[in-house]
Every structure is written in structure tokens, then in C-alpha cells.
């Protein structure tokens, strides 16, 4: 079992609630997004799942290892990219990686060959002997990603993996994440870059000390979706017919175009039937999906109210 199971996870620091009531699962090979504003408890959650913090309540398993009792076996199975790269500045890139190869008690030759492959892929080939202190922010970030992968973990937690990277490097990292997932590795991605999350993740959890939403991205975007309807003549003539519907959808008419807001997809056939029944001649009906950013901001607004 290489996925993640979390049930009722909570963490309190000296009485202050960091997160509570988190219940979710991540399937093996899935790229799962963990979203939330700063201080929402994402890092605390990741720290609990990687065995760095002990939960105040709840249970969880990562790769079949209990997050309470998994200890060494759990930490061997996971790779962690922390918010800050956390590299030893006086040590070279090779020495930094070698340290973690030694800590994981790996065959140094094999692990270094794998690390060199990642270094080349991320554009750090030939820079192995340079001290990390001389690296740019993006280079440090890429080296930290290599460090998280050097022991070939089955579950990888990436906290803002493309932070500080130029577009080309960010693309390389995204491709690498997709490739790692295709190899069957489970990836948890914490990010504020919603476009990136939308591109990489299949499902997301939105947290703000507690779980606000947990769903496939497509489903989150569909919720509260809209229909963009093109019809013949003045669209405002049909607003009354829509208001007569039991769920009374909000609509906006502009010339021959009608935008109808729906609270769920199942309402779409009723809307079309009502319009046709009122004599409308439809040219096109296009379902509109909200961008993830809009969904996220709405969740935050609802939470703040």
C-alpha cells in the first residue's frame, strides 16, 4: 500500500489549533494538491505525515506505515521537499547529496548515479563540486528536490516545488512530477500556484485549519458552474421563463447571449427545456467552468464569513 490514509487528524500547539478533523486519502500514483492560505496548517499536516510531528488526535498511514509509530520506516519511505531548501551552504552539491545518501544507508555509487541523473535533468550537471552557498535561489530549490528524491521514495511531499524557479525550470520540475507519478509514486503537492495545481493534480484538499473541500479538481470547478447560451433574438425576453423554474437560476442577458448560473450540473437540462418551451431558438449551449482560483477564493470568502 503506497498511498496515504488520514482519519480525523488534528494538531494543537500549546492549546492553539493548527489543524483539526482532517480526513482524506491519496491513492498510489496520484498527484494530490494540498491548498490553503499561509498558516492554514498545510506544513503542519505534511510534518505529521512525514513523522516529524505527532498528531494530537487522529490516525494515519503513509505507505502502510503508521504516522504515529512508523518512525524510521516511515521516514525511509517518504521524500520531503521543505518550504525552505535547507541546504548546507559551505558544502558542495555533491556533499549535500552524499550526506543524505549516507543517512539512508544507500549504495553510494548507485545512489550517486541516480542523483547525477536528476542533477543533469534539472540543469545542475557539472555544478556538483560548487558550494551551495554560491547557488541561485532556483538552483538551491532544484538541488533540494534532488535531495528529496535521492533515496527513491514511494511517497513524495513537495512544498512549493516551483517557488523561485524560472518558467523553464518550473516546467522541468512539473514534467518530473508528472513522470514520478506515472512511475506509481504518490505525490502530495502544497502550493499557492493554483494554475500549477490545476495542471498537475487530480484531486485537491483545501484546508484552513480544517478541511474546507476535498474533491477532484474538475468536480470543484463544475460546482456552481454556468451555461453560456447563444440564441436568436434578444436574450432578455427569456429571463422570466428561467425565473419560473423551481431552482430560479440567476441569469445575465446581453444581446443574444444568456449566461445562466447553476448550483449543480443536473439543472442544465431543465434550463434548456424551459428556454425551448418559451420559444427560444438556441444556437449553442456551452458549459462554463470556473477557474480553480475562483473556487479557492470563494471557499476562503465563505470561511471568513
Amino acid at each position: 500500500m503506497t498511498g496515504i490514509q488520514v482519519n480525523g487528524l488534528a494538531k494543537r500547539f500549546s492549546g492553539r489549533v493548527a489543524v483539526e478533523g482532517l480526513t482524506f486519502h491519496v491513492r498510489p500514483g496520484e498527484v494530490f494538491g494540498l491548498l490553503g492560505p499561509n498558516g492554514a496548517g498545510k506544513t503542519t499536516t505534511v510534518r505529521m505525515l512525514t513523522g516529524l510531528l505527532s498528531p494530537s488526535e487522529g490516525e494515519g498511514t503513509v505507505c502502510g506505515h503508521s504516522i504515529r509509530e512508523g518512525g524510521e520506516a516511515l521516514r525511509k519511505a517518504v521524500g520531503l521537499l521543505t518550504e525552505q531548501p535547507g541546504l548546507y551552504d559551505r558544502l558542495s552539491a555533491r556533499e549535500n547529496l552524499l550526506f543524505f545518501i549516507k543517512l539512508n544507508e544507500l549504495d553510494e555509487a548507485k545512489a550517486w548515479a541516480r542523483a547525477k541523473g536528476y542533477l543533469s535533468r534539472f540543469g545542475l550537471g557539472g555544478r556538483e563540486e560548487e558550494p551551495c552557498g554560491s547557488f541561485s535561489k532556483g538552483m538551491r530549490q532544484k538541488l533540494a528536490i534532488v535531495r528529496a528524491l535521492v533515496h527513491d521514495p514511494q511517497v513524495i511531499f513537495l512544498d512549493e516545488p516551483t517557488s523561485g524557479l524560472d518558467p523553464e525550470s518550473a516546467r522541468t520540475v512539473r514534467d518530473a512530477v508528472a513522470e514520478l507519478a506515472s512511475e506509481g509514486r504518490t505525490i502530495v503537492l502544497c502550493s499557492h500556484n493554483l494554475a500549477e495545481v490545476e495542471r498537475l493534480c487530480t484531486r485537491v484538499a483545501v484546508v484552513k485549519r480544517r478541511l474546507l473541500a476535498l474533491a477532484p479538481i474538475a468536480e470543484l470547478r463544475r460546482e456552481g458552474s454556468a451555461l453560456d447560451i447563444q440564441l436568436e433574438g434578444e436574450a432578455s425576453r427569456f429571463s422570466e421563463a428561467l425565473r419560473a423554474l423551481p431552482f430560479s437560476p440567476h441569469s445575465q442577458a446581453e444581446g443574444g447571449r444568456l449566461k445562466v448560473m447553476l448550483s449543480e450540473d443536473a439543472q442544465a437540462p431543465d434550463v434548456i427545456a424551459a428556454l425551448v418551451g418559451a420559444g427560444a431558438r438556441l444556437r449553442s449551449v456551452v458549459p462554463m467552468q470556473r477557474p480553480l482560483e475562483e473556487v479557492y477564493l470563494e471557499l476562503m470568502r465563505q470561511e471568513a464569513q
Binding site: R16, L52, G86, F100, L212, A215
Partner: protein, 337 residues
């Protein structure tokens, strides 16, 4: 959980490599041994220039009123200085590991390198022993090197006058060989304990340095003639420190847990003595009722009904709206090794 020496050695390897490349720390570590070697050499040289000077006799009689007239006052003072100086020399094996351990433990927090280290398979005991080794080896090495230099310099300045080797003698050999490593362990244990609680290497060094003060007080008492230094005196000191060392090892391993290292940092001297962790901020409790606060959890199918179904799985009951100040005090959570 098995202790894996290979992982402890990996931590020692990394810390030693980092120290080797830290020229600033190396220089500051070498300043103290230089002073502790040069000063007694000059004092011995000064005493032996005119050993029968009446003022030296006055000083010698102050320390030993029963000092026979046949005893050379200069030579008596040289031997007393060398015996007393060992007490001051012990500051070195205490202070050097404090400098290194503060950098390697609190410094890891400061540079944010501690989290990847703690996320590795290394256990708390392995990290503690690896880091301790990385501070004890240079501390004992520097102490022994400084002792060799002291022997050489003292004998070079004394030989023309006394025609015999003043150092090494039994007291110094016993002290440097047995007592100094025990004191180094003490310095390391204190620095690790302090570093486990503070956020910065500088703060760790400041707090750790406080533990050197009793040692300076003892040396002051020796110089004031209140305490008489000798093999027995230092053996008693060594015995006491050995017991303290044992306590420090247990306390360090106990306190050197992941959760404490990641979440319990203090940034001021006041906080160090008063609280377990950073002051907990005001937090706003959930203000919404259960029906509003439940998370939207969806499985394969969308729609309102599926959301409603999954609420019971995902959402906990909302708490009443109120502001509360979080309590300070110990965390109720378990420790992680």
C-alpha cells in the same frame, strides 16, 4: 529502534566537513587555546627570571605560610601556577564543544537545515551522538594539541633555569587525559540541551557560556588561596562532572526529539526560562455553525447529494464562535524519536 552507527558517523562526517570549511569558527576556537598556552608560559618565564626575589617569597608565603626557607620561592610559584592553571585550562574543553554544538544544533535550526535532517531515517540518538562526536573530537584534539604546545613552550623557557622538564607532570597528564574529555562531554551536553530549545546559535552560545562561570569561580578561589589544587582536587571535580555527564546524556537524548526541535523554539532569554515554546498567538475559533462549516467532500460523483453524503465522513462539529487565548504550557503530544 536500533542504533545505527553508520548514520551517526554520517552526521559526524557532515558536521566535521562543515566545521573544516567554517574558517570563522575555527579561528574563534583557536583564540582561547592560544591565550591559555601563551599566558602561563609568560608567567613561568617571569617567575624564573629572578626566583629569589623577596617579593616572590612574600607571595609564596601568602599561599603557604609554612613554606621552608630552603624552598626556592620562584620554583614554588611556578609549580603552583601550573597546578592552578590546569583549572583554567579546563575551560577550553568545555568552551570549544559549546561553540561547535551551538552551531551544529541551533545553527541547523537557524539555517533551516534541521527539517530535512529530521525527516531522514536517522534517530534522535544517532543525531545526538553524531553531533556530539563532531564537537568532542575537535575539542579534545585542540585541548591535547594546546597541552603539547604548552609543555613545549614552558620547558623551552624553564630549561635554562631549572634544567629539568616541568611539563608534562602527573597532574597534567591525568587531567588532560581523563578530566578534560569529561569536561568536553559536559560542554557538549550543555550546548546540545540549550540548543534544543533556542532558535539561534548566538543565543545558544550565550546561554551555554553561563555554565562556564562556576569553573571560573573555582579557579578564582584557587588563585585567592581559598582552594588548593592538586590531583585529588581535580579527581573530585572529574568525578562530579562524570556524574553530571551521565545525566546530560540521558536528558539530551530525551529532549532531542523531532517535535521539540521543530516546534519549540524560543527567541529571547526571558522565554527560555519561562515557557516551553513560542508565545501562542490569539486564534479565532471556528465561528460557523455545523451546517455552514462542513467541508465539501466529494467522491466520484458530483452534485449536492453526494456532498451531503460525505459530510459525515469529513466534517467535524463546528465550535461556538468566540475568541480565546491559547494556553501556554507543555504540549500533550508524544515525543518522536
Amino acid at each position: 529502534m536500533a542504533f545505527r552507527p553508520k548514520r551517526a558517523l554520517a552526521i559526524f562526517w557532515k558536521d566535521a566537513l562543515d566545521l573544516k570549511k567554517n574558517k570563522g569558527l575555527l579561528l574563534s576556537m583557536l583564540a582561547l587555546p592560544a591565550v591559555l598556552v601563551v599566558v602561563p608560559t609568560l608567567v613561568v618565564y617571569a617567575y624564573l627570571q629572578n626566583p629569589n626575589d623577596p617579593s616572590l617569597r612574600t607571595m609564596a608565603v601568602y599561599y603557604d605560610p609554612a613554606l621552608p626557607l630552603s624552598v626556592n620561592a620562584g620554583r614554588f610559584l611556578v609549580e603552583k601556577t601550573l597546578a592552578d592553571w590546569f583549572g583554567l585550562f579546563l575551560i577550553m574543553p568545555v568552551f570549544v564543544p559549546m561553540l561547535i554544538s551551538s552551531q551544529s544544533v541551533a545553527g541547523e535550526k537557524e539555517r533551516r537545515t534541521i527539517e530535512p535532517l529530521l525527516a531522514s531515517p536517522a534517530t534522535a540518538a544517532e543525531i545526538f551522538f553524531g553531533k556530539s562526536l563532531a564537537s568532542l573530537v575537535p575539542a579534545v584534539g585542540i585541548t591535547w594539541g594546546a597541552f603539547a604546545a604548552l609543555c613545549l613552550l614552558v620547558d623551552v623557557v624553564a630549561w635554562p633555569k631549572v634544567h629539568e622538564l616541568l611539563l608534562p607532570n602527573g597532574l597534567w597528564l591525568f587531567g588532560v587525559g581523563v578530566i578534560a574529555p569529561l569536561f568536553a562531554f559536559f560542554g557538549n551536553g550543555v550546548a546540545v540541551l540549550v540548543s534544543a530549545r533556542v532558535a539561534e546559535a548566538r543565543l545558544a552560545q550565550q546561554f551555554s557560556a553561563l555554565f562556564v562561570l562556576p569553573l571560573i569561580g573555582l579557579v578564582g578561589s584557587q588563585l585567592a588561596g581559598l582552594l588548593r589544587a592538586g590531583v585529588l582536587y581535580y579527581a573530585i571535580q572529574g568525578g562530579v562532572i562524570a556524574l553530571v555527564d551521565l545525566g546530560l546524556v540521558f536528558a539530551s537524548i530525551r529532549l532531542f526529539d523531532r517535535e521539540r526541535l521543530i516546534s519549540k523554539w524560543v527567541c529571547s532569554p526571558r522565554a527560555f526560562w519561562k515557557s516551553e515554546g513560542p508565545a501562542a498567538p490569539l486564534v479565532k475559533a471556528e465561528p460557523r455553525a455545523l451546517s455552514d462549516a462542513s467541508p465539501r467532500c466529494a467522491g466520484g460523483s458530483g452534485g449536492r447529494s453526494s456532498n451531503r453524503r460525505s459530510r459525515s465522513r469529513c466534517g467535524g462539529p463546528g465550535r461556538p464562535a468566540r475568541w480565546r487565548r491559547s494556553r501556554s504550557g507543555r504540549s500533550s503530544t508524544g515525543r518522536r524519536r
